[in-house]
Every structure is written in structure tokens, then in C-alpha cells.
Symmetry: C2
Subunit: 502 residues, 2 copies
């Protein structure tokens, strides 16, 4: 490449560095930072983030971007160069609408809010978190205003996580999904053969849980030379570059599902980030096409792989070796049914696949109401509980297992949740295509052979990073736009068999 | 304070943030970063460090500094405000002489060199580290040239770590110290009663070593609410703010001294950083008066406290509980003599107090020769070994235990080592004064009571941070300038008794 593009690329690298540094600071905050570090950490993050914003939206970078654009006008529109330029143009256009002061203050606020949320959840004390969340919601409304006019005040929040997606699109998807998903859950409850998951709720030594989880994600293809796993209050994946993609997990000594499926979920995210083309390293494009596409990879690993019968044909004997007194007597089929038990539950991250999206719809309704200023933060616990009753027939016994359960709002992530459901849909669409391309897939999984699967995902999804917008990528891979059908087909097929409905 | 000072103070905080962020990135690099992260980490550190330098040396900050100076002209010259301004003026004057590109490139270089050094040491392969060190030495020579004219090309390197100290000052101190220290070592070898330290060289479970170390440094006063301990290849202390001061340590399963005295040493550094006045937080002044003063605190804890008889009167029974099969039969006196055995040895950080400074003199001679361009990096292993023979009568069996043993050069720290010896001298001077002020000190240590000692150090040393230059601080505390006498008196008294020389 010629000089002007190289100059632009150097800027992109430096802007990326600052973004990655914020991620390192946040990773440390959530894994190892002593409590005394919170105040200065918030300032450190705010300062770096402000510099990130100033560099991204400054005239110098815009000039470099323009120069690079001219120079590369005749290149293949799918080349890295053109796509990096296009992506950065989008970033500049977006972030130029947001003042640096807002960016810096929002980061400072959410860094402190995260700490308050951790304390509030630990002490079941919503009031401790409430003032933080009120400020966050207020600033997120401001954020939306920077992008006025909009069809819906939630659109800019959603677009931040899922480029190109509108509130009305998500509503349409949920309207299509809701009745059929509710119907499935109802059928299971009324006609399903009983499933018992008590065996998952025994005492499981957490260091053995750790070891087994590591064994599984190594087999799946997570590369520990370019990553590591640590413990955190709320599991997450973070990438500082293609060579350093870290995951976190957490343990429940009385329930094996928390760490197991959480670890596989995060490894799904991480393998995406590790699989991105080195030619995109030190650019913002290594964060993936969107949060939805990211969730398609994590939810695919967690569910389509990690809760499948072929997968446990391979791994159940190993799990029995780790926990012979708890699981030694059990047969694979009972275990498989146990990990797929459908039951309305309080905690989203532990929800089965049939009820999972209902947790999301509840959050989506609350978030859109917050964005519309039709709901006050003070009323959240009550509204949460009444929606839980409506969607899942449960009332949380406390806020820690209710409105305080998720980390997202404390991080300022209002607009994120819908991407989990979008990810579920995409995962099934992508899986359907992958099964066509790898006829032997089930067999390979039964033998714990994931190399071909991972290679297919790298080739079709991972390597591209954010070169393509989510729906563009989906079209390229599957030949289709977003659809609920493959997902519902998968879900119905799986549960009709487990619950002997047909 | 008024508006202009506040504006200046805000700048100081943001500049500090960037410096602290680099420290976080380096801490992570040396504790948890997977190897795949090294390349982008080097770029991240370089980018942030460049921004730090640009902000510090930019016209905007200089203007803010000038404005604050005018506004505070009539304040007490010892006030925080005046001292912060004076310190930042010194920083600006110093760093304006160094181009931003140099700063950024040097950080990138040393970040990668650190990784190469770790590998070189692990594989006893100096050639792997040599090209990195050659670049570092070359850049350090460039650095000196930025400060020309100088009395000695090593002066600017030394001044970086020990403000106000010249190469000739250190030479004079070493010339005074050398003959008397060599004489003491010779006397011990020729006339001393034998001391056996084989009992320190048994199998010691490292997790028990960890636990005992934690118990000791908690008792000394290291605050885990505002810090933490992790493992690293070479122990270090790092401060991201007064509320987040971290230490690292390492373990030898066959020698209890490594972790034990290393941990106490780092806790000495860390208690200094934790004791700095909150009014100085988010300023560069929280890094302490100098590296020499810092070493005075770490070497004091390690040696004057941690290798003293009163200390082990308190802690030896506990250590015996941890390691009853190894130490259960032993009496305190034998243990005390063992941990103070004088014997020329290969590794500086494990050297006894009598030979320690000889390790430093060797390094000082090598570093000054490198600065004078009288020594090439390729010759270092040979020169190292011949100087080891000359000073300590030993020839390292390999470079890993020779020229590759220390982390400092890989971090670009040429000019640091002398501060250990200066710290030894200062520690004895400060200790002498403290003993006058706390007549009951020995008694308190025997009862593991360190609160009054720590309060005295906070009051007289810690709280001031870098408000005073090292010799100014020493004068304020002890009424004297730097002197070898208290140190030699301490050393001679201690070893005459242990080795029954008189």
C-alpha cells in the first residue's frame, strides 16, 4: 500500500491502542483490582477514553481518512483497505456527534457504577445502585438526542451494538417469536415427560469444575497462548488484540451449569476474536461484526454444541471421571435431558434455550420504556418483578436475583440485550449452513473433533471481523436475511424429542 | 485554591493517569499477559507513553503551569501546591529535552526487550537478549546526549533515578565504602565463627511460603484493601494511585529466602507508596522522593527489620508452625545466624548485607563504561564474569545466573542499581534517627507491633512523596547529609556479633 494509506493505518492503530488500553483497565478492574483502586481507575479510564475520542474525531484523523479514501478508490470494495476505511468512516461519523466531555464523563460514571452494582448485588440493595443507574439512563437519553432525528429514541442505543438494526426490526422479530416460544414452553409444561435436573445441583468442587472447563474449551479450540481465563463477578470476554483475547468465568459450588456453560459461552466469543484475520489487528474491526454476530458464536458454542447430545457423547465420560461420586452412576441420556430441562427461572444466564428469549424480551421492553422516558429507574424493581410474573410466572424473592442480576446496565450497556436473541437466531441460520457444508459434523463432535468446525467458522465468519455489517455477513454466509424459522425449527425439534411431545 | 491552580491540577491529574495506565499495562505484562499479547502490548504502551509525553511537554500544560506559579507565588514554599508546581516544572524541563518519538520508541523497545530477557534468562541464552540490549544501550546514550553538556555521560541516566546525584558523588561514596566493606567480608571469611544456612535450603511448600509471607507483610502494615500480591519472574512494586499499590513476588521451592525477603522488600516499597498523602494522589509525586529513598524503605524492611533478631523473636515460632518438619527442631539463634550468613554469591537479590553493595559496584562500573562507550554489549558476559571473580571470587556457571539475572536493563533502567546502595546508606541513617525517637522500638518489634514504626515512617518520610528532593528529605529527617558511617556502624556491629569477631 502507498504512503497515505499507511499514514491512515498508523492513526487507526494508535486509536485502537487507546480503545484496547481501556479494555485492559476494565479487565483488571473486574478481575484483580483491589477495592481501593476504584476511584483513580475511573479517572484513568475516563482520561484514556477522552483521548481515544479526541483522536478518532479530530481533524487530523479525518484528513488522513479522506486522503486514504482517495488513494484507495479503485481497490476491490471487499478489500481490507476499503473496508477498514469504511468502518472508520462510520465510527467517525457516529462519534463526531458525541462530545468528548460526554464520552469521558460517561466512562467515569460507568466505571464507578460497576463497583456500586457489584456491592448492590452482593448486598441485595437496589437503592445503592439506583442513583448510578439514574445517571446512566439520563446520559443514555442524552446520547440518543445526539443522533436526533430518529424513528425511536432507542434506535441510537441499539445501533451502537447492532449496526443497521432498528427498534422496529427487533420488535417485529420478537412479535414473531413470542407467541411460538410461549406456546412451546406451555406445551412442555402441560404435556412434556418430566425431566429432573437435581443431579446438576450437588456439591461440585470448583477447582475440578475449573479443570474440566479448561479441558473442554481447549478441545473446542480456544488458544491459551493467545488468551487466558480468570474469575469475575460476571463472566465476559475481552480482546486487546488478536494475540490476547481473555475470558472470565464464575463458579457455583452447588450447581455445575453456571461455570460449565458460562465458560463455553465465553470461549465461543473468544474463538471468534482469536480467529480474526491478522491483517485487521490493531484496528477497531477486530471487535467483530456486531454484538449480535458475537452472540451467535457464543450462544452456538454454548447451546448448539455445548448442550447437544453428540457433544456429551464425547465429554460425559470425562465429566464422570472428574465427578465420579456425583455423576458416576448416571447414564448419558439422563444427563443430556437434565442440562436441557425447560423451566421458567429467575436468572437469564442460567435459563434454558426455550425460555431464554423471554428474559430478553422483558429487558427489551424495559429498556425501550427507559429510552422513551416512560419508566423511572426507581420503579424498576417493581416493573421487573411484574414482568417476570407475566413472562415466566415467577416473582424474584429479591432484587439480587431480579433487576440486579445483570452487569450490563452498570457498564452503560443499554441496548445490548436484544443482541443475545438476534445471536440465537443467527446461530441457527449459520449452523444450518455449516451442517450442509460439513455433512460429517455430528460425527466429528461425537469424537471431540472440532477442527473442521472451527476452520469453517473462521473461513466464513471469524476472519472477517467487522469488515461486513451483520446482515451483510449473514447474507454472504447463508444466502438469507435474518429469519426466525431455522431457530424455531431447531428449538421445536430438540424439545419435542426431549419432552416426547410428538 | 483558586481557578488557575485548579486548572493546572486537572492537567497534572490527566498526565498522571497516562503514566499510571502504562504501569497497569506493564504490571499485566509481567503477571498475567499471555505470550501472544506481547506485540500489541508494546504498541499500546508506546502509544500511551507518547501521549503522556506530549501532554507533559505541550504548550498547554506549560501555560497552565506558569499561570499556577504566578497565582501561588506567595504560598508557603513547603505547601503541596508550591511543591507540586516545582516538581512538575522539573519534569517539564527534563522531558522537553527528549523528543516524543524517542520516548515512544524506547517504551516499545523495552516492552519487547523485557519479553526477550525473560526468554533469554529461562534458556540461558544471552545472544537472544543481546540485540535488544544493544538497542537499549544505544538509545540510553542518545538520551544522555539530550542533556549535554554534562560532567559525565552517565549523569543524566543517574539523575533520572536519583535527582540531584552525580556520577562523581556515587563514585566517592563507593570509594569510601569499598575498602571497608571488602575488609569486613575478608575478616568474616578468615576469622569468623562458621555459620551454616543449609536449613534454609530444604523443600518448602510454596503455597505455605505464600501464606507466611502474607501474614508477615500484613503485620508490617501493608494494606490489602489498597493492594495485592501476585507472582512475577522478577519481583517489583507498582503504584497506580495511593489506593492501588501492588507487589509481586517469586518462589524457590528449595530455598525459603527468595520469597521471604523478596516479599518483605517489596512490601517496604509498597508501604511507602501507600503512605503518601492523599493530597498528592493523581500527581507524579506519589512515586516517592527518588529510587534511592524508595530503596531505603524496602531495604530497611528487608534487612534492618526482616533480618533482625527482634523480628524473628516474634515470627520464628509462626514460621516453625508452617514448616514444622523442616524447622521445628531448630532454635532461634541458629536460624538468625543462617539468614545472615555472609558468603559471596552469584545472585544480587539473594546476597547478604555484607556483600550486597559489591554486586552494585560491579553493575555501576559496567553501566558507566557502557555510558562512556568503552564497553560493548557483546562483551558483557565476559566482563561480568571477570568482575564477579574480582569482587566476589566467583565465576558464574552460566549467564542466567550471571549477566542475565536482573530485569533492570531489559526495562531500560540503566542508572538504577546505585540507588540500592544509596538506599542502604539512607536506611541506616533514618533508622538511627527513628531509634532515638522510639526508644521502645526493639521491644515493639519483638512483639510484632509495627504501628508506631510505620506511623513514624509515614510522618517523616512516606507522606511527603516527592515533595522534597532526596538529600533535602534526608536532611529534614536526620539533620545530616548522606553518610556511610551509620551504615558501616550497623553492618560491623551486626556481623561482629554474629561472627564473634571481637
Amino acid at each position: 500500500m502507498t504512503e497515505k494509506y499507511q499514514q491512515f493505518r498508523k492513526h487507526v492503530g494508535e486509536i485502537f491502542d487507546l480503545d484496547a488500553v481501556v479494555s485492559v483497565l476494565e479487565w483488571d478492574q473486574q478481575t484483580y483490582m483491589p477495592s481501593g483502586g476504584a476511584q483513580v481507575r475511573a479517572m484513568q479510564i475516563a482520561t484514556v477514553y477522552r483521548l481515544w475520542h479526541e483522536n478518532l474525531t479530530g481533524d487530523e484523523f479525518s484528513a488522513a481518512l479522506e486522503a486514504a479514501k482517495e488513494e484507495t478508490a479503485n481497490l476491490d470494495p471487499d478489500s481490507d483497505e476499503v473496508r477498514i476505511i469504511r468502518h472508520m468512516q462510520r465510527e467517525v461519523d457516529q462519534w463526531r456527534k458525541v462530545p468528548s466531555e460526554w464520552v469521558s464523563e460517561f466512562k467515569r460514571l460507568t466505571t464507578l457504577a460497576h463497583q456500586a452494582w457489584e456491592e448492590a448485588r452482593a448486598n441485595d440493595d437496589f437503592a445503592h445502585f439506583q442513583p448510578h443507574l439514574e445517571e446512566i439512563v439520563q446520559m443514555r437519553r442524552q446520547y440518543s438526542e445526539f443522533f436526533a432525528p430518529y424513528d425511536h429514541p432507542y434506535d441510537p442505543l441499539l445501533d451502537y451494538f447492532e449496526p443497521g438494526m432498528k427498534t422496529s426490526d427487533v420488535k417485529a422479530v420478537f412479535d414473531e417469536l413470542r407467541p411460538r416460544q410461549v406456546e412451546l414452553v406451555r406445551e412442555i409444561a402441560e404435556r412434556g415427560a418430566p425431566v429432573d435436573d437435581a443431579i446438576l445441583r450437588q456439591n461440585f468442587d470448583t477447582s475440578k469444575q475449573w479443570d474440566f472447563g479448561i479441558e473442554v474449551i481447549k478441545a473446542l479450540g480456544y488458544d491459551f497462548e493467545r488468551g487466558r481465563q480468570d474469575k469475575a463477578a460476571h463472566p465476559f470476554t475481552t480482546s486487546f488484540g488478536i494475540g490476547d483475547v481473555r475470558i472470565t468465568t464464575r463458579f457455583d459450588p452447588k450447581y455445575i451449569g453456571t461455570a460449565l456453560f458460562g465458560t463455553i459461552h465465553e470461549a465461543g466469543h473468544a474463538m471468534y476474536d482469536q480467529g480474526i484475520s491478522p491483517s485487521l489487528d490493531r484496528t477497531d474491526l477486530i471487535n467483530g461484526a456486531s454484538y449480535g454476530v458475537h452472540e451467535s458464536q457464543s450462544r452456538m458454542m454454548e447451546n448448539l454444541v455445548g448442550r447437544s447430545r453428540p457433544f456429551w457423547k464425547a465429554f460425559f465420560p470425562r465429566l464422570q471421571q472428574y465427578f465420579s461420586s456425583q455423576l458416576g452412576e448416571m447414564d448419558l441420556e439422563t444427563f443430556y435431558r437434565a442440562i436441557n430441562k425447560v423451566e421458567p427461572s429467575l436468572i437469564r444466564v442460567e435459563a434454558d434455550e426455550a425460555t431464554y428469549n423471554l428474559h430478553i424480551m422483558l429487558r427489551f421492553e424495559i429498556e425501550t420504556a427507559l429510552a422513551e422516558n416512560k419508566l423511572s429507574v426507581a420503579d424498576l424493581p417493581e416493573v421487573w418483578n411484574s414482568k417476570m410474573e407475566e413472562y415466566l410466572g415467577l416473582t424474584p424473592p429479591n432484587d439480587a436475583d431480579g433487576v440486579l442480576q445483570d452487569v450490563h446496565w452498570s457498564s452503560g450497556y443499554i441496548g445490548y440485550f436484544a443482541t443475545y436473541s438476534l445471536g440465537n437466531l443467527m446461530a441457527s441460520q449459520i449452523w444450518t449452513k455449516m451442517e450442509e457444508d460439513i455433512p460429517d459434523l455430528t460425527n466429528q463432535i461425537e469424537r471431540a473433533q472440532f477442527a473442521e468446525m472451527l476452520a469453517w467458522l473462521r473461513e466464513n465468519i471469524h476472519q472477517h471481523g467487522a469488515k461486513f455489517e451483520p446482515l451483510e455477513l449473514l447474507q454472504r454466509v447463508t444466502g438469507n436475511t435474518l429469519s426466525v424459522e431455522p431457530y424455531l425449527r431447531y428449538l421445536t425439534g430438540k424439545y419435542e424429542e426431549i419432552y416426547k411431545l410428538s
